[in-house]
Amino acid sequence: TSQKHKDFVAEPMGEKPVMALAGIGEALGRRLEEKGFDKAYVVLGQFLVLKKDEELFRDWLKDTCQANSKQQVP
């Protein structure tokens, strides 16, 4: 697990920006923000709405911001 992920889970998610999520860099974060996913909790919401199905979530991430498989949230 990356240091970024450890930092993220070390405290409540609160209003953290989407780029605080491990695996979401500048480019991906920008595209997610443009689509309204400006906060980490909104991305979590989408994951939950997708029934915590990782494959569905990856597909959604790819569709939403042309994320490649490497760039995705662990």
Binding site: E34, K35, G36, F37, V42, Q46, V49, W60
Partner: protein, 43 residues
């Protein structure tokens, strides 16, 4: 108005901003709500 359903999420988002309708991301589970709000605002 039926054209709303053929709009992309981005286009809907822009329209929601145009009409001053507060919103989050337009995704599968929120789209119908926002389309309904836009129809009301456009009516």
């Amino acid at each position: 108005m039926s054209s709303l359903s053929s709009m992309s999420a981005g286009e809907l988002s822009e329209l929601l901003d145009e009409y001053g309708i507060k919103h989050g991301p337009v995704v599968g589970s929120t789209r119908s709500l926002y389309e309904r709000k836009l129809k009301e605002a456009m009516a």
